[in-house]
Amino acid sequence: MSELPPILDRWFAGRGWTPRRHQLAMLDAARAGQSALLVAPTGAGKTLAGFLPSLVELIEQPADTLHTLYVSPLKALAVDVQRNLLGPIEEMGLPIRVETRTGDTPSDRKARQRVKPPQMLLTTPESLSLLLSYPDAAQMFAGLKTLVIDEVHAFAPTKRGDLLALSMARLARLAPEMRRVALSATVAEPDLYRGWLSGTGDLDAVRLVEGDPGADPDIAILLPHGTVPWAGHSGRYAAEQVMAEIAAHRTTIIFCNTRSLAELIFQDLWAVNEAHLPIGIHHGSLDIAARRKVEQAMADGRLRALVATASLDLGVDWGDVDLVIQMGAPKGSSRLLQRIGRANHRLDVSSKALIVPGNRFEYLEARAAVDAVEAGERDPDIFREGALDVLAQHIMAMASAEPFARDALLDEVREAAPYATLPAEAFDRVLGFVATGGYALRAYDRYRRLTEGVDGLWRVTHPRFVTQFRMNAGIIVEAPMLTVRFRNGRSLGKIEEGFAATLSPKDTFFFSGLSLEVEGVKGEDLIVRATARPARIPTYGGARMPISTNLADRVRHFLHEPEQWPRFPDDVRDWLEMQQRRSQLPAPERLLIETFPREGRHYMVVYSFEGWNAHQSLGMLVTRRMETAGLQPIGFVASDYAIATYSLKPVTDPRPLFSPDILEHEFVDWVQESALLKRAFREVAVIGGLVERQHPGTRKTGRQVSFSTDLIYDVLRRYEPSHLLLEAAWADAKARMTDVGRLGRLLDTAAGRIEHVALDRVSPLAVPVLVLIGRERVAQGTVDDALLIEAEALVAEAMNER
């Protein structure tokens, strides 16, 4: 094991600490000149482990150039890490400068950082990509020794991971001595991350360092009255018990799966907060200043509880949290562990957590999550090929830095793991897209942004394209938003334009922990005032996180293994026993479908357990087939566990509705017509640089309206359906929005393994699914024309004065 320089030894000793084994193992890897992946639970001192080798090197060989570059997925995390590093550095009196660089950094400091960088620079993937787009990048990074990537599990398999992988490939060229270091929570397959980090897939180049496991977490399922409700998915019924837990602990974080649920839970808790304990709310739509205030209050220990969403998932230290409560189903074991990790950042003490399941299926899911955590099972990570829109953005960044040769850049791009097998033809298409839009017509050769010179180098044709690129670069594309404001100008946060469009003056909604009444829309602002009237809930839209495959498999086995049932509460056990008597229990590897009549309608319930996204897609497809078959479907609802359709005529044989060829024909048609693909197209058009982002304050108001990406999509689909961006949108829509992989798995099971049970009335298992009907709004299977005709009739009826 490596020895520490005396000054570091004394610092550790002064705090009564000794370096942990994995911290020294990271130092060993550094001394051997090897890259490293550290996999360790929260509270293991990961950040210090990541920086320790850099501290040692800078103590042993002081240097005044950029030594270590740290990249985290969150700006707030970079700021937090800076704070945590500056402490020890000051205490040891080391001449090491640590600075952050994010979108929030003032431009004069950014300019200075490029000329005279600190020894340690903390940044985000987007800011790094921008840094690499400046001509002086080569000089700035030439002496870089270490790249540290924090929370790599949170974003390596995403588009932001693609961008970072490409930036890594460039950094490797600029800084031949650079080692790569990544810090990760516990993951199912560390080798996938080693391969990603190495770029070339050479696992041996990346040493795997595993932290010691912490004390096992103490997770319980909260059942206020010993019973689990039939319906719901939020655990709202447990407000009083949750309040009692808050009162019994120092600081509690209450995680909710959606922003709107967080607002509701906050209201519910407030209503039973008789002791007036200080409680806050935190989610990604709230105004940034409000979020910072809440974060500071948490860090100072001034809050007793915080209602939060995934915006708090990542590793920022939120102070002295001693309880985490998960409202509703946890959706995945890794996700649950991440959230539990927010409590008690000490390895030797168990983190304490409670899950409040919203209904009986969610109880089974909660049980499955607890079992999975105990068994050390993690959710699988799905790595996919690098996105082409991200590559387009990267090529423009590289061209902005300096002229490049096509072959050299292709070689470099292939050293980024997501693009390792990128065909030359695909690269050329992306290059053509960046240069002229990549149209078959070659209409824009005159207006090209990049041109290949006689020296064989590609360069930007005009500096304004570089400026334009830097203004628009970035991977996160938000839906159009309106700012929620009081009339005095105070901003509360942002809501989606689509939701705002459903609001009329005098409507009320919950936001930022307040009940608000709409006064009107003014430009890009939704003007509101506080009200005492009860409120509707914001529906922020956005994708839902589906139940992970490993938890779904566990739930399937629970259902089919009565020997497990004694562990469950009485009412859950009764529910399953009744299902067994009245119908069947779904078996793993088989697909149970029940049909039954009820109140003049015919229901079909499919227990497929493939998650909300796949079910939503299949629901659309199956109701279309029912329409064609003349069964007169009225609608369907999907949950993480099942799909229920209802129609005027009965389904007598479900088999033809589920034949696998549905994926070949109807699926493609449906996705192309659906809003999903348009949404995906909007994202790739912005990331790929086809259209500019709308910057706050610059949106055109009044007469002239700028173009919409929906219209571009329509034109492109009609005249150049094989265009690069349509392919990229299609890839996104398949992977993320429809969960086509799990849909395929479902249909594979359906082929020949359907158990159809025709019942004379509703089965116990169907109840939690059926109660969703009427709560989830469904307009599926109805085309816009019919909706408009219906709306006109309604308007006419309402406006008729006779």
């Binding site: 824009y444 007469r703 571009i712 034109v715 909706l787 408009l788 005709i789 406006m799």
Partner: protein, 224 residues
């Protein structure tokens, strides 16, 4: 084709956003914004170069389908003053065929104010505004105008949320004496039919958004 009467004239709203005037065998369209994509391409946003082709193709099909002998373009026919010079040769041929096969009139808009060159490049005649059989044709509605008037300019669009689904359609906006046509161009966006700018153009008179759907003309009152 859905007929309705406006200021004594029998007109018909066509689903793609054009207006037919059967008594004159005329077709009226507004805001074609031809060569909008190439205008943005000049600025670095390489929008698909098919918009003029798509817009004129659609228009040619309507001329065929309705047997129109007369075409009125109510302004902003090109996205900018240089637009007609950027037309691809084959698209310009399409346009020239159309302008020579019909009595074609360009009404000048705010985007193509110096439209005189239009006629040289593309055929047809250019006018500022014109009265035809008692209807005034111009680019932008004049709130003070007492005569019946057809215009474009605002790109009206009906936006509704029905049963949780957002529906947006190009629409006509009609008051007793004013009819505003939707934009016809393939890449032209829209403005909410109830936007204050449109209500001001209608002099705040009662008005309906008109949407041709499945052989019917749906009417939605614009709330004042």
């Amino acid at each position: 084709m859905v007929r309705f009467s406006f200021a004594g004239a029998e007109l018909a709203a066509l689903a793609p956003g054009a207006l037919a005037w059967p008594a004159r065998r005329a077709l009226l369209v507004a805001d074609l914004h031809l060569e909008k994509a190439s205008f943005y391409a000049l600025g670095g946003q390489m929008l698909p170069p098919y918009d003029s082709h798509a817009t004129l193709g659609e228009l040619a099909a309507l001329v065929d389908a309705t047997g129109a002998e007369e075409v009125w373009c109510l302004g902003d026919s090109f996205h900018d003053t240089e637009g007609c010079e950027r037309l691809a040769p084959e698209t310009r041929d399409t346009l020239r065929r159309l302008t020579s096969a019909t009595r074609w009139t360009w009404i000048a808009g705010n985007h193509d104010l110096h439209a005189a060159r239009l006629a040289d490049h593309c055929g047809g005649r250019v006018v500022g505004e014109v009265e035809v059989d008692g209807l005034l044709l111009r680019h932008e509605a004049d709130p003070a105008e007492p005569r019946p008037e057809l215009s474009g300019h605002f790109h009206p669009k009906l936006r509704m949320t029905i049963r949780g689904k957002h529906v947006a359609r190009r629409c006509f906006v009609a008051s007793a004496t004013k009819l505003i046509l939707p934009a016809f161009g393939a890449l032209t966006g829209g403005m909410d039919a109830g936007d204050p700018a449109i209500r001001a153009a209608l002099a705040h008179r009662p008005a309906d958004a008109l949407v041709p759907v499945a052989g019917r003309l749906l009417r939605f009152p614009i709330t004042a």
